[in-house]
């Protein structure tokens, strides 16, 4: 029979519980940086009560137990404990009232549920599958599009939380790369209907065709990007790499995929730069990007002083599942700084604020039909913008400010729902877009000025790379669209554009030329 206990939330209680349910009660939680991060996080989301469920069978841990721990001489337990967090304050008698189906108590449990954390019966890496609500949006606009609904059942009462699962890496069956892949697969499994392998299964699948330098398990040697890509292939998805040493490319690229709910893996170097101490590389790391702060304020010029303006360049925070820190950990963006991505890692003095992420590769797990990568779309947008801006400066396109662009991948149902609810699209085009036969995935490119959308370009994300196929444009501002059409219809301009050799650019301006009469 399972036991259910109730404790008031505090950092010391959480630490004691992590220790209590670890292997032989020696979880070393006090020495881990995770505990202080979780305390900050749980305090921020308003945790006041913990309900402890023990024993609890966790599928991911059980798979790893069968694959690895069961063959150890030491008798590691196969069952875990699960800690449920609530924002309401209640005592143990609430459990009795819950058993009696006391309606007010059930409502309190459901409405104040903040999620759960599985405690694995291991010596040290005890934080298993953890689903906690995301930060609220009070005072700050944040987006966590990769989060989904995760259900828990407590004494027959269904509870739900909107989250993305996190777990601490277990250096035996999983390195940081495995934990990040596991979190990402929890989102892509929901989106693309693939099974979600356990960490041990991910490590083995990733190392199946490209052997690590040392043994596969224990997994202390980690994985390379190429091996992580194999892990992605093992669940039936296609890995897509984007080089993101360029910060703007990272911000625009990661958010473009995240908007469709696809979390990307970010690989790079962890740098410790404590003032007065020599800069130190801590090694290479992988995290799962799970959210971002909504762009606010002026966009920066893309990759230069006079470049295209993308809204995503004004993002000031990314949120990542970083197994060395915790779920939805903050990465503060300081564009222009020597180290523009400040992590929530503690430094050697256990202080946060001096450890940075130097981004190298964005690795995106994609459904095989999403063929056109984000860099192709960004290259079309910058090219288009370089044509439209001189026309704006010459007074042809009568907009006071330079166009600001927003790029995002979108699934057809989501797009049609958006179009259906948007009465600002010029009516004939709105109706036509709702009737149009469209591909399952599209790239949506919004062009705005002064915070007002002027038009949205829809490109087929499933098209051939040589296609550059425009599905359509959603026009909002008739004058701006007519000006683009007039440019496109001018034979000299049209020839100049063709000589650019950019097929996507050509098909976009052609759409404006062909539809000028209906605008």
């Amino acid at each position: 029979m399972s036991t259910y206990e109730v404790e008031s939330y505090s950092i010391s209680t959480l630490g004691q519980l992590l220790d209590r349910y670890s292997y032989r009660g020696a979880g070393y939680s006090q020495g881990k940086s995770h505990l202080s991060y979780f305390d900050d996080y749980l305090t921020a989301i308003g945790a006041r009560t913990i309900v402890i469920e023990h024993p609890y069978t966790d599928r991911d841990y059980l798979e790893d137990y069968v694959a690895y721990y069961a063959r150890c001489h030491a008798s590691y337990d196969r069952r875990c404990a699960r800690l449920h967090f609530f924002s309401a304050q209640f005592e143990k008698d609430a459990i009795e009232r819950m058993l009696e189906a006391h309606e007010a108590t059930l409502d309190q449990f459901r409405s104040s549920y903040l999620g759960f954390m599985v405690v694995r019966p291991l010596p040290s890496t005890v934080i298993g599958r953890t689903c906690l609500v995301t930060y609220g949006n009070i005072g700050r606009d944040r987006a966590f599009p990769s989060a989904g609904i995760y259900k828990a059942n407590l004494l027959g009462v269904p509870l739900a939380v909107c989250s993305l699962p996190f777990q601490e890496q277990d250096t035996d069956v999983a390195a940081c790369a495995t934990s990040a892949l596991w979190s990402v697969f929890n989102a892509t499994g929901r989106l693309f209907q693939h099974s979600i392998p356990s960490p041990a299964e991910i490590t083995k699948a990733s190392a199946a065709s490209q052997r690590p330098a040392n043994r596969t398990l224990p997994a202390f040697n980690g994985l390379s990007a190429a091996q992580m890509a194999d892990g992605i292939r093992s669940v039936g998805l296609e890995p897509s790499y984007v080089g993101v040493a360029n910060l703007d490319l990272l911000l625009v690229g990661a958010t473009a995929y995240l908007r469709a709910g696809i979390p990307a893996l970010l690989l790079g170097e962890i740098i410790e730069a404590i003032p007065g101490s020599p800069q130190l590389s801590r090694g290479h790391h992988a995290i799962a990007l799970a959210g971002f702060s909504l762009p606010k304020g002026p966009a920066r010029a893309f990759t230069g002083t006079n470049g295209t303006l993308f809204s995503a360049t004004s993002i000031i925070r990314l949120y990542a599942h970083d197994d060395q820190v915790g779920p939805f950990s903050r990465i503060v963006v300081h564009a222009g700084a020597a180290h523009p991505l400040l992590t929530s890692w503690p430094d050697k003095n256990k202080t946060r604020g001096h450890v940075y992420f130097r981004p190298e590769i964005l690795l995106v797990p994609l459904y095989h039909k999403i063929r056109v990568p984000v860099q192709s779309i960004i290259s079309i947008v910058v090219s288009l913008d370089e044509w439209l801006e001189p026309a704006r400066l010459a007074g042809i396109i009568q907009l006071k400010q330079r166009i600001e662009w927003d790029v995002g991948l979108i699934e057809i149902a989501q797009l049609k729902a958006f179009i259906h609810g948007d009465k600002d699209i010029i009516p004939d085009f709105r109706a036509r877009a709702l009737r149009d036969d469209m591909p399952r995935y599209l790239w949506q490119i919004d062009a705005s000025c002064d915070g007002v959308r002027r038009f949205s370009i829809l490109l087929d994300a499933t098209d051939l790379l040589q296609g550059g196929n425009v599905v359509g444009v959603l026009p909002y501002d008739k004058n701006a669209c007519l000006a683009v059409a007039a440019l496109a219809r001018n034979p000299a301009v049209s020839n100049y554009i063709k000589s650019t050799g950019n097929r996507g650019l050509e098909t976009i301006v052609k759409w404006f030329a062909d539809n000028a009469a209906q605008l």
């Binding site: 890509a229 990759t303 060395q324 290259s379 044509w387 701006a480 001018n490």
Partner: protein, 67 residues
């Protein structure tokens, strides 16, 4: 990006023939031609820079991630 109704641009104020005339004048002027040529180069360079920045080198793929 939220748009408020009062910010919506007013439609129906310009005719395409008027704009086409302005485009003709601009493109056929010396300054316009120079701007078109500059735009062509800028468009090519900007697109190429994005694609080259986004490239991942083979050696990067084999760097082990192990923290």
């Amino acid at each position: 990006m939220p748009d408020s109704p009062e910010q919506r641009p007013s439609n129906n104020t310009l005719e395409i023939a008027d704009i086409e005339k302005r485009v003709d004048e601009w493109v056929s002027s010396k300054k316009g031609t120079e701007q078109m040529l500059a735009a062509r180069e800028a468009a090519r360079d900007a697109a190429e820079k994005v694609l080259s920045d986004a490239e991942v080198q083979p050696e990067q793929l084999h760097k082990t991630v192990n923290l």
